[in-house]
């Protein structure tokens, strides 16, 4: 709402028009209804746009495939923290590109699916935030060219996975425990990985992945066993290998799109990726081959067996994912890289069919309201499209030609022909996979229909993404020569020759055997489901560890009694003791000179400051103590003025005033009886604790005094940077006010951070005291809903002008408006109205002439903030809110911060550094005005500080009733 005349209305004491009043009431009422349920109509174009943008990235990545095939690897490297060997380098070879394509491609599908999956637009937005954060981290993981950037991305994926698993954690205990378990296992494994990668980098002498791969062989290094085992632990925890596999089924509390994306297609393959990535440097030893083979085979068998015992659709899929990941690990462990081709094609096939099946499970859950296999059946007629897709994905999973899964299984069996034991295990698990696929397709979509549920047709848009994936599995199976071989060859670093049909060879016969066994097991499923198998599980070990950590925590908590100031005493005492034990003695070359001179005026001010501070200890009334501290602040301001430091003195005086107003208003927000009680008990403590406190304070004081004396006596005055600043303010900036030059330019980056901190603090105060709703809207609650005979209840429907009985309001604890009644006289009202415009004029003059005279953006902001403060003090919250409606503090904060940052960044467009100084001398202004980036900078500071001060005042004068305990 633009109100150009508001300023004059304010001067003329004009009441708001009726229209504005209506607007105000509308605003009030609109905040009472929360817009919770979003409609599909509003968000769907958004989902499509998001998904198509992701698809564009996919196409872009795909277009770089020929280059990667030709060059081998694309590399970029930017130094990040060179001292730590940390660089932001990218290493994109065939392997990284293949994984990146999976990450982005499945990501696009999942993004579209999610748009139709979530009913609630708030949930969708939250999900998108986490989804794309994950996509970015996962992409960073696969293209990372430095082991430490890889590690950071690795941990980021764990953290975001935690957030996604606990997506519904606010009302689901299972989601919380599942998320925590996943985080502890994967992030804990990540720590092992960090140590492993550090050792490996130390052994290789470089942290760059490209150099590790091309460098000397690491297999003979004495630390080889240590770092390989540690890397294994990291990879196994992430890729859910036995015995760390149990977090993955627990992760199924995540929304289904997240399960499909993170916990089948991408994140759980990070461990596989890293093993593949490092296999040129680490493979070829018995540890590598036997370790991977053993763990992989164990995982694959246990996963397959557990999968069949699940009744939850997603749980079954999760265990079958565990099993597939086991296959991949075992393949990487085959000697001479014989299993790599099978592993790569297996990753592709698994990502395509497993994501499809997960998304189908989500749609079934959506349609029927359950994922329990015992309650599902015969859905093919109700959900024909989904039945077709599930059948395609299931066929691919079972390894039936011509789908990609068939090719993957053929290559897998072929590569294992030499190792009979592994072959038997793999054939067995392939059979169980067939059973699993049959369970998914037959028991859900075919079989006898169950009448107990009403089928609610899912939105057609849900079907688009999974169809793309299932179709992909079909097309990839048929188009091996032109699609899969070119994709896999650069990753393998030799030509891949995959074909759909190799004739009636041993792998095909084995495959047929597996299918036959699988069908047989499926046919007998009603028999073996009743068996109980003593399958090993590490959950109990995990629970024991976590439980013992909690027990130790309980022991530590016993030492805590809850008295805050005793905690504070312990902290301060520990710091002091540390200082004492370090001592000053071992520091040589520090002088202590105890001579100094002090003129009378400075001495008086110093004594005044100290005396008032001591007085604040003993004064019996808070108000007096607050005022006395104000005197102390002014005395220090006087010292600044005598220095002479006019800029600082100006700010000190202004802020001291603000601070005193702040604490006095705050005093009125804490009920007087409570304050009196606290004050009466102030000295009620044992003699021992009193002496203890005095001793500690004295020790801190002496320590600080010694430190300060040493600091003053030993400053390297000859080398001070102050001289440089004094000499260069005019030549570089045209600023004769050197302090202003430092604040706005020389140390401009600090200032940006400082006003950001100040903004956060102001918003924090607002959140604490004015309590905005979760949606970010501050409810204009100005009534006390309790019936009170002495207080007129101010209701929403009433006109805002209706007077509140403020005289009596001060007696009820909520409506703390007592200061209004004392200060709101005709005289003070007139003064307040006059002061604000003058304060703004002074502020403007300080902005325009900040380079030559005392004052800058900070003082301008604080001065005009004082004008606003006066309004709040005199008129109180409601009237100030209403009549200063043109002043929108949060907009000012935002505008100021944006202005500062845009202004600092804009010189980069013309090739200058961030926050470079640009003088617009070609623009001629009257009255000796100079326009430069610094001026815009000061304006930004001014707006932010004004906005923050107004926000703080708005917050502390906000009337509010006592919350129930």
């Amino acid at each position: 709402m633009v109100r150009p005349f508001a300023f004059w209305q304010l001067l003329l004491h004009a009441a708001p028009t009726d229209k504005q009043r209506v607007m105000h009431l509308k605003l009030v009422s609109s905040t009472t209804t929360t817009p919770e349920t979003g409609t599909h109509v509003a968000k769907l174009p958004f989902a499509w746009i998001v998904s198509l943008l992701t698809a564009l990235v996919f196409i872009y990545l795909l277009s770089s495939l020929p280059t990667v095939t030709e060059v081998g690897a694309l590399q970029v490297s930017l130094p990040w923290v060179p001292a730590l060997g940390l660089s932001l380098s990218l290493y994109v070879d065939g392997l990284a590109l293949m994984f990146a394509l999976i990450v982005v491609g499945v990501g696009a599908v999942v993004a579209l699916y999610a748009g139709y999956y979530f009913d609630n637009s708030r949930e969708l937005n939250c999900f998108y935030g986490q989804l794309f954060a994950f996509m970015a981290s996962m992409l960073a993981l696969v293209v990372a060219g430095n082991v430490f950037t890889l590690f950071i991305a690795w941990e980021l994926t764990s953290v975001i996975s935690f957030l996604l698993i606990s997506f519904h954690g606010d009302h689901s205990e299972a989601a919380r425990t599942g998320a925590l378990r996943a985080l502890i296992i994967t992030a804990g494994g990540g720590l092992a990985l960090l140590v492993g990668l550090s050792l490996m980098s130390a052994a290789a002498g470089t942290t760059e992945i490209s150099q590790i791969l091309s460098g000397a062989a690491l297999q003979d290094h004495p630390w080889y066993t240590a770092f390989t085992v540690l890397v294994f632990v990291g990879c196994f925890s992430k890729s859910a290998q036995f015995p760390l596999h149990f977090w993955l089924p627990g992760a199924m509390s995540a929304p289904t799109p997240a399960s499909a994306y993170l916990h089948s297609a991408t994140m759980v393959k990070a461990g596989i990726y890293l093993l593949l990535r490092l296999s040129p440097a680490l493979s070829g030893t018995p540890l590598w081959e036997n370790g991977l083979m053993l763990v992989g085979l164990a995982t694959l068998l246990i996963g397959a067996a557990l999968a069949l015992r699940q009744y939850d659709l997603k749980g079954a899929l999760a265990y079958s994912t565990v099993s597939q990941l086991g296959v991949l690990v075992a393949l990487i462990g085959l000697p001479h890289g014989e299993g790599l081709e099978a592993a790569l094609i297996g990753i592709l096939a698994h990502s395509l069919y497993k994501a499809t099946l997960f998304l189908t499970a989500g749609a079934v859950d959506h349609a029927v309201g359950t994922r329990d296999l015992r309650k599902l059946g015969g859905l093919a007629l109700a959900l024909p499209g989904w039945a077709v897709i599930a059948a395609l994905a299931g066929l691919s999973m079972a390894g039936i030609p011509p789908l990609l899964g068939f090719v993957a299984k053929e290559v897998l069996l072929e590569s294992l022909l030499e190792t009979p034991l592994a072959l038997i295990v793999v054939v067995a698990s392939a059979a169980l996979t067939v059973t699993m696929a049959l369970i998914f397709v037959w028991d859900v979509f075919l079989g006898p229909p169950r009448a107990e549920h009403h089928v609610h047709e899912p939105a057609w848009g849900l079907l688009v993404g999974p169809s793309v994936l299932a179709g992909g599995a079909l097309i990839a199976g048929l188009g091996l020569d032109w699609l899969i071989n070119p994709l896999i060859s650069p990753a393998l670093e030799h030509e891949a020759h995959l074909a759909l049909w190799h004739g009636l060879n041993p792998p095909f016969l084995l495959s047929l055997t597996a299918i036959a066994i699988g069908v047989g097991v499926f046919a007998l499923r009603h028999r073996w489901r009743a068996w109980s198998l003593p399958l090993p599980n590490a959950v109990s070990a995990y629970n024991a560890v976590v439980g013992s950590v909690e027990k130790v925590g309980d022991l530590v908590l016993r030492t805590q009694h809850g008295k805050l100031r005793h905690y504070l005493f312990v902290i301060l005492a520990a710091v002091t003791l540390l200082q004492l034990s370090a001592g000053f003695s071992h520091v040589t070359g520090i002088e202590f000179q105890w001579d100094g001179e002090l003129d009378l005026l400075r001495g008086l001010l110093l004594i005044l400051a100290l005396g008032t501070m001591i007085g604040s200890i003993f004064l019996k009334r808070h108000m007096m103590a607050a005022l006395v501290l104000g005197v102390a602040g002014y005395s220090v301001g006087g010292l600044f003025l005598l220095e002479p430091a006019p800029d600082v003195a100006l700010v000190q005086f202004m802020v001291e005033t603000l601070g005193t107003v702040l604490i006095i208003i705050m005093l009125s927000k804490i009920s007087a009886p409570q304050r009196e009680a606290a004050m009466n008990d102030l000295w009620k403590q044992s003699r021992f604790t009193l002496y203890r406190d005095i001793a500690l304070s004295a020790m801190v004081g002496v320590g600080v005094a010694l430190f300060a004396v040493a600091a003053i006596n030993n400053r390297a005055i000859a080398h001070t940077i102050a001289t440089w600043h004094l000499e260069n303010a005019v030549p570089l900036l045209g600023f004769s006010d050197v302090v202003g030059a430092i604040v706005t330019d020389f140390r401009g980056m600090d200032t940006i951070i400082e006003i950001t901190v100040f903004s956060v603090a102001a918003l924090g105060v607002l959140t604490l005291l004015a309590k905005p709703s979760p949606g970010g809207v501050i409810p204009k609650r100005i009534s006390i809903p309790r019936p009170s005979p002495r207080l007129k209840v101010f209701q929403l429907g009433a006109a805002p002008d209706e007077p509140v009985d403020v005289q009596h309001a001060q007696e009820t604890e909520g409506e703390e408006l007592s200061f209004e009644s004392h200060f709101s006289t005709p005289l003070t009202r007139t003064i307040a109205q006059l002061v604000l415009p003058f304060a703004l004029i002074v502020a403007l003059s300080q902005l325009f002439y900040g380079g030559e005279a005392p004052g800058d953006g900070f003082t301008a902001g604080v001065i005009s903030g004082l004008g606003v403060t006066l309004w709040y003090v005199v008129f109180g919250y409601r009237e100030s809110q209403r009549r200063l409606g043109w002043l929108k503090p949060r907009y000012l904060i935002g505008a100021g911060l944006i202005l500062v940052i845009v202004n600092a960044a804009s010189p980069m467009l013309s090739g200058l550094a961030f926050a470079a100084h640009v003088n617009f001398d070609q623009i001629h202004l009257p009255a000796d005005l100079h326009l430069s980036t610094t001026f815009l900078y000061e304006t930004g500071i001014f707006l932010t500080v004004l906005g923050c001060t107004s926000t703080v005042m708005e917050a502390i004068t906000y009337p509010k009733e006592i919350e129930p305990l």
């Binding site: 504070l568 005493f569 501070m613 200890i617 006019p646 600082v648 606290a678 604040v743």
Partner: protein
């Protein structure tokens, strides 16, 4: 600058810490504020020069200017300390309203 300011800083720290350890939340907040002031005074005291004129380029010929660097540091520190003070008082007001007491010793729920 001279040694008196350093000693005053030490004394202010002692007063501030003592106030911080009081039962009364408001007195503790005041202790915090005293510490803010003390730190600013310390920065002021370690300025490189004994200033005779203010740090303006036009004044440099007339005498030793005051140290502009510490002034810039203090200037922003003052504003930030106001923000922290506001947060602190906001927390105190909120907790006093929530637990119906301004006495730190009656608040003993921060334990295991």
């Amino acid at each position: 600058m001279n040694v008196f300011f350093a000693l005053a800083t030490g004394l202010m720290f002692a007063i501030g810490v003592f106030q911080l350890l009081r039962r009364d939340m408001i007195k503790a907040a005041m202790g915090f504020y005293i510490l803010f002031t003390a730190i600013n005074l310390f920065f002021f005291a370690v300025g490189a020069f004994n200033g005779q004129v203010s740090a303006y380029a036009g004044n440099l010929s007339e005498g030793t200017p005051s140290d502009p660097v510490v002034q810039a540091l203090i200037l922003t520190a003052i504003v930030i300390s106001f923000g922290s003070y506001a947060i602190l008082l906001g927390l105190i007001a909120t907790s006093a309203r929530r637990y119906k007491t301004a006495d730190l010793d009656t608040l003993d729920q921060l334990k295991g």
